[in-house]
């Protein structure tokens, strides 16, 4: 029996290795896509940087929705917290871009802590409603505190110093894009480690059955709160990046609309893989950009049609479609 058992463990081992290689290939693909964007669309780097910033927001939603099963329609509160924190710091003389990103991450994490502490008191629909209420409150706070935030005019004219003291933020947005892309890549790799850690596994367990997790002797609340903080840091970095690259922070960065759009992007790409967050963001924003240029009047209709088509054809998002194709081959 023992001999048999050992033989079985050995034969089962290659699967884990296969997964590891998949991530290396995935990350290489992201690098290729990022570089391709840089070379192919030199006139659209501002849009690409915007996509990178929103991708960070969508990744942060995936952590909460995809890995923990907590639905939220208020994630832009964390994105906006990062954007405003970076913007206010910048106006007040902290202009070093990496420091601003760090400030954004810290502000986002703090906002995530607050948001998590409130949202995790409720469940299901009530939780979703709370998330909307929180983003509306953040929005109102940013609107009312116009002395710091510029109110509905926004916070404009951020002068960011050169990256590492060398690379100026140029008119074409090259520096901003490359910095943003490097940041996204770094965050993505870090998140891949986090979701593969014991903590990540615990979150996946909580998503499926919190009662079982408690019966395993693990508390649910602190684990979810921790994920809210991590998620907030990621969203906050996205906000800071948006602030640095556009040199403006507006009320739209802390809006319900952005929260909802970002959730739609995640559903479009697929939950719980991290790749889905990237794919969904690129396709949604790329499609939006293209269609709004072709038909400025009916582009929303077309985006809606795309969404319906994807949700009907692949309820698990576009990544699940890829999963299905691979499954068919194997």
């Amino acid at each position: 029996m023992q001999v048999m058992a050992q033989a079985q463990t050995v034969s089962a081992a290659p699967r884990a290795k296969g997964l590891w290689w998949r991530d290396v290939i995935g990350i290489m693909l992201i690098v290729i896509c990022g570089a391709a964007g840089y070379w192919l669309f030199p006139d659209n780097l501002a849009l690409l940087t915007r996509i990178v910033a929103v991708a960070l927001l969508v990744l942060s939603i995936d952590l909460i929705v995809g890995y923990c099963g907590v639905a939220t329609l208020g994630q832009a509160a964390l994105f906006g917290a990062g954007a405003y924190a970076a913007g206010i710091a910048c106006v007040n003389g902290v202009t070093e871009p990496m420091t601003l990103i760090a400030i954004g991450a810290l502000a986002g994490a703090t906002a995530g802590l607050v948001m998590g502490a409130i949202m995790l008191r409720a469940h299901g629909l009530a939780q979703l409603v709370l998330s909307i209420a929180i983003v509306q409150l953040f929005h109102e706070a940013a609107n009312k505190a116009s002395a710091y935030t510029g109110g509905s005019d926004g916070l404009a004219g951020l002068m960011v110093s050169p990256l590492f003291g060398i690379f100026e933020f140029d008119l074409w947005g090259k520096t901003a894009y490359l910095m943003g892309f490097a940041l996204l890549l770094l965050v993505f790799i870090l998140l891949k480690f986090i979701v593969a850690s014991p903590f990540g596994m615990l979150c996946r367990g909580i998503k499926q059955d919190p009662v079982r997790i408690r019966a395993m002797g693990a508390f649910v609340f602190p684990v979810l709160l921790k994920m809210f903080v991590i998620s907030g840091a990621v969203a906050g970095m996205g906000g800071a990046l948006a602030a640095i690259s556009t040199q403006v922070v507006g009320l739209d960065s802390v809006s319900f609309e952005l929260s909802a759009n970002a959730l739609v992007m995640l559903v479009l790409g697929g939950l719980g893989t991290l790749y889905g967050a990237l794919i969904g963001t690129i396709i949604f924003m790329g499609f939006e950009h293209m269609v709004s240029a072709i038909n400025p009047f009916h582009w929303m209709t077309m985006v809606g049609a795309l969404l319906i088509a994807v949700v009907l054809a692949a309820p698990g998002g576009l990544t699940s479609l890829a999963e299905k194709l691979r499954g068919g081959k194997a």
């Binding site: 463990t9 850690s197 002797g217 602190p222």
Partner: protein
């Protein structure tokens, strides 16, 4: 006072309905106790009360001389009071190996680490391997739980419980829903439980109860009506009335 585990006058009512009345029982280290009773007798409610899923209206739960009545479910698990579920509660997308690894990591306080690899700890991996081997689950160790047989899922429930190194284990119908061909594997697993572990088993399969338990407690309408040896239980008039009554009457009429 030498009891490892003791329940004193445990009661629970939902509104006016008493589902547990004044239940008292105690278990010593290594004891094998079966809790039986007709449907709706309050057996699962009793397990939920003991493990802290629901709060009792009155009474105490004492583990190792310590009153744990006010502790939540998680803290009771950490003290060594562990249960399995009547209907398996497993993560269909995870493998048995992942279930047990997560449980062992939790027991060692390493389950919420962010920057360590899930399979990075070889001591944990060895322990997981041993637990899965004991329960004969190695062949399906890396298959998703949703794809393994129900009998194997039941064994995994026990594997998770054992990975917590419990002092008292409550098995809520460990063989429920298992095809009779697989019941011997469950029984084998029960026989191999650590000798020092106090085990309380709820079970409908009387053959299994008689082979497993040294002592039987019968619950009816939320209260204990019999406590004694398995050989005596069938002869007890109260038990016959509550548990076998309808069946016996039906036969005598026919």
């Amino acid at each position: 006072m030498s009891d490892l585990f003791r329940v004193e006058n445990l009661s629970k009512s939902f509104g006016g309905l008493a589902v547990s009345r004044n239940i008292s029982l105690s278990m010593a280290e290594g004891e094998r106790l079966a809790l039986i009773g007709p449907n709706g007798a309050g057996k699962t409610t009793f397990v939920n009360l003991v493990t802290g899923q629901i709060k009792p209206s009155a009474g105490r739960v004492v583990l190792n001389g310590e009153d744990v009545t006010q502790l939540g479910a998680v803290r009771r698990v950490r003290k060594g009071l562990v249960r399995t579920f009547q209907v398996t509660r497993l993560f269909s997308e995870l493998t048995p190996e992942e279930h047990v690894t997560l449980t062992v990591l939790q027991r060692e306080g390493k389950a919420s680490r962010i920057l360590s690899r899930f399979r990075g700890n070889s001591a944990v991996a060895d322990e997981v391997h041993d637990i899965l081997a004991t329960l004969g689950l190695l062949e399906v160790a890396r298959r998703k739980v949703g794809q393994i047989a129900y009998g194997q899922q039941r064994l995994l429930e026990i594997a998770i419980a054992l990975a917590l190194k419990p002092k008292v284990l409550l098995l809520d119908e460990p063989a429920a829903g298992v095809p009779s061909a697989d019941t011997p594997r469950i029984e084998q697993a029960l026989e191999r439980l650590p000798p020092s572990l106090a085990v309380l088993m709820i079970e409908h399969d009387m053959d299994l109860v008689f082979r497993f338990a040294k002592r039987v407690v019968v619950l009816a309408a939320g209260g204990i009506i019999f406590e004694g040896l398995p050989s005596e239980v069938a002869a007890d008039p109260k038990v016959r009335e509550a548990y076998l009554g309808n069946y016996a009457n039906a036969r005598s009429v026919a």
